[in-house]
């Protein structure tokens, strides 16, 4: 599935930059929360999960305490289920209850905002967090809902038909963020909006 950066795609973040970005975001989250007290980090599959684990690890290194980290699959909460073939449902994994916790949702790319809306719905069914914060590696704009991220690794202005691809060691064997034109250079149709940062 992962394609290497081609002549038509441009490298936005390399492995070192991704690592530094994660470390910076970890500090930002801890500063906003005034420490690690009550934090639960939940990644949105697929690539939000390894990012959440990296973020939690980086925060644990700073604070010297374990930070609960898990996965929140939002497939069953999507509002476009009827417009695509049946989607495979991923696995949700909650390390602890979310009641009264400060949940940090982590995703790779923030685009239309619909994935985050689904994640908020899913969280609401699991409990009542004290607060929910959103951390994304890349914010590429083009929001369709009034949603913004609290912590952004990189703001990346894009055209709507461009494709932002986040590839991580854990899922793709390589750490990089690239941007490339749509499939035919004139707009693209993808089955996994947000995840690959385009649609």
């Amino acid at each position: 599935m992962a394609e290497p950066a081609t002549t038509t795609s441009r490298l936005v973040l390399d492995a070192d930059q991704i690592q530094r970005t994660c470390a910076r975001m970890a500090h930002q989250v801890l500063e906003a929360n005034r420490g690690a007290e009550g934090l639960v980090v939940l990644g949105i599959p697929t690539r939000g999960v390894p990012l959440a684990e990296r973020l939690a690890r980086a925060m644990a290194d700073v604070e010297g305490v374990d930070i609960p980290v898990g996965a929140l699959d939002i497939t069953l909460y999507r509002d476009d289920l009827r417009r695509h073939p049946t989607r495979a449902v991923g696995r949700s994994r909650l390390p602890v209850g979310v009641d009264d916790a400060v949940v940090v949702l982590v995703d790779d790319v923030l685009f239309s905002g619909r994935t985050v809306r689904a994640a908020l719905d899913a969280l609401g069914d699991l409990g009542r967090p004290r607060a929910v914060r959103l951390a994304v590696l890349v914010d590429r704009g083009h929001r369709e809902l009034p949603i913004r991220a609290d912590h952004v690794g990189k703001n990346l202005p894009t055209r709507a038909d461009e494709r932002v691809s986040v590839r991580l060691e854990e899922t793709d064997g390589v750490n990089e963020v690239t941007i490339s034109p749509g499939w035919d250079g004139a707009g693209s149709e993808l089955s996994t909006p947000d995840e690959e940062g385009t649609r």
Partner: protein
């Protein structure tokens, strides 16, 4: 997957996908808010021409927990009791624009027939003595969970020995289980008195026996079947007492089972006939786990059928 009419329709990959998703759905059962929005706006009709408690209520809960609108139609109290034909009933319900029909009928093949009349998805919830595929799926789900307590990564049932005992002739549960367990790779042995062993069983992918005591100690799981007196027109066995002595899961037989071997029963049970109270309530009994699994498995199946693209839900036939 368009319809679910027979356990034979399911490949190993599809079966595993349904069981894996059912694990996720089972988590919903444990939540304070038992609701997912996945099937919002979809309509599911439970069309039950035969009485049922657990299957109908678990399909109803499964649909509701996925946010579908669920309507229950039973033969009693509907136009069926006025003599309306199956075709007219199915077409009438489908004409209202439903997305899925869950059909239980006393005639084997009725849901398969209905699937040819309508564009809605059709689920077989038990047809005559033919099949009950979601029961086989929930049995497989329950057994997989049980086996995984010792083998966490277990996915197929290769090498597992499952004994299905009792009234095989009249059992749609047995038929679906044989098909699904074969897909999963289990070795299945059917045990029944010769009068309750179906004709043509030699073509099934199973071994057969009439000696329960000989095969029971080797089993990793035993599925007891209900003696379906309502489907029996003649004397299939001399007396209930003799049936129990030969084929009941008695206290003595319970003691002869391999440690860790599981007991299943699709319910409702005839306690004292095919299963003793000791066996039904034993620590190795998974009977209530099966009931709980029913909702999760049916949620999984409904999502697999209805969770994707819109399908036109108009009747094909003329009213």
């Amino acid at each position: 997957m368009r319809h679910l009419l027979s356990a034979a329709d399911l490949s190993l990959a599809e079966t595993s996908a349904i069981l894996d998703l059912a694990e996720e759905m089972a988590q919903v059962q444990a939540r304070p808010v038992k609701k997912l929005p996945a099937l919002r706006g979809r309509t599911v009709v439970n069309l039950f021409f035969e009485d049922s408690t657990r299957t109908r209520s678990s399909f109803e809960l499964a649909g509701k927990w996925l946010s579908a609108d669920v309507i229950n139609v039973s033969a009693k109290g509907s136009s069926v009791s006025k003599g309306e034909s199956l075709r007219d009933t199915v077409l009438t319900v489908a004409a209202m624009g439903v997305d899925a029909l869950v059909i239980r009928h006393g005639a084997s093949g009725a849901p398969g027939q209905a699937a040819q009349w309508v564009d809605a998805h059709v689920l077989n919830a038990g047809d005559g003595t033919h099949e009950h595929p979601t029961q086989a799926l929930l049995d497989a789900f329950t057994l997989r969970r049980h086996f995984r307590t010792t083998e966490p990564d277990l996915d197929t049932f290769a090498g597992k020995r499952v004994v299905i005992a009792g009234d095989v002739t009249h059992s749609r549960v047995a038929r679906s289980n044989v098909l699904l367990l074969q897909t999963l790779g289990a070795d299945v042995t059917l045990v029944a008195p010769p009068t309750l062993m179906p004709s043509g069983v030699e073509t099934w992918p199973v071994t057969t026996s009439s000696d329960f005591d000989a095969v029971l100690p080797e089993a990793d799981a035993v599925m007891m079947l209900r003696v379906q007196r309502e489907r029996m027109s003649g004397g299939y066995f001399p007396t209930p007492r003799e049936y129990t002595v030969g084929y009941g899961l008695t206290r003595a037989r319970l003691a002869s089972m391999r440690p860790g071997s599981a007991i299943c029963h699709p319910g409702p049970m005839n306690r004292g006939l095919e299963i003793s109270a000791d066996a039904a309530d034993a620590a190795s009994s998974l009977i209530l786990d099966q009931v709980a699994a029913g909702v999760a498995v049916r949620m999984s199946v409904l999502y697999q059928l209805l969770g994707g693209e819109d399908a036109p839900a108009t009747p094909r036939g003329d009213l």
